[in-house]
Symmetry: C2
Subunit: 99 residues, 2 copies
């Protein structure tokens, strides 16, 4: 499995709007096992996204999906930046599809 833990930053006051875009584009994507979008409780403009994919290629391919491309285009103007992005290698746990 392949995973990402990322922290992005909305333009000031635009976090809810950015969350709506992210939530609207996070339907089932090929190879996506988990995609959790979260607010940072102490950093008013920050959003965390934790992702689990079957492999790195599925994640890369997802960035070319039309709905993802549309979301990126819509989101870009209200994204202030990316604070961090960490690759991880999920090995198991609870709540992932069996396989």
């Amino acid at each position: 499995m392949y995973g990402l833990i990322g922290k992005m930053r909305a333009q000031a006051g635009k976090r809810d709007e950015l969350l709506d875009i992210l939530l609207g584009s996070s339907s089932a994507m090929p190879g996506c096992l988990s995609y959790v979008i979260a607010r940072d409780p102490v950093d008013a403009d920050a959003i965390w996204i934790t992702e689990v994919w079957d492999n790195r290629e599925s994640h890369k391919a997802s960035l070319q999906l039309p709905e993802v491309q549309a979301a990126i285009k819509q989101a870009m103007p209200i994204i202030a930046g990316f604070d961090s992005s960490t690759e991880i290698e999920p090995v198991g746990g609870f709540g992932l599809p069996a396989g």
Copy 2:
């Protein structure tokens, strides 16, 4: 929802052993929606855990479950420390139980 993103560190060379303990104790827990255990691909002793719970109280209560208490006791000697722990407020995404 309530979530945690944590990075822990195994004693040198003990990561696989620690992963086995964590994987063995991460069955269904009341209120747990997702619990993903991952290796850090560049930090040989580091483990990431991303958790989603229905609320903070469920997470707190889980720490008292007998199987969790047993795992903590078993794991403590080979945990070198905790690099970071970040609380998040998951709002949605893909792969979480509907509700």
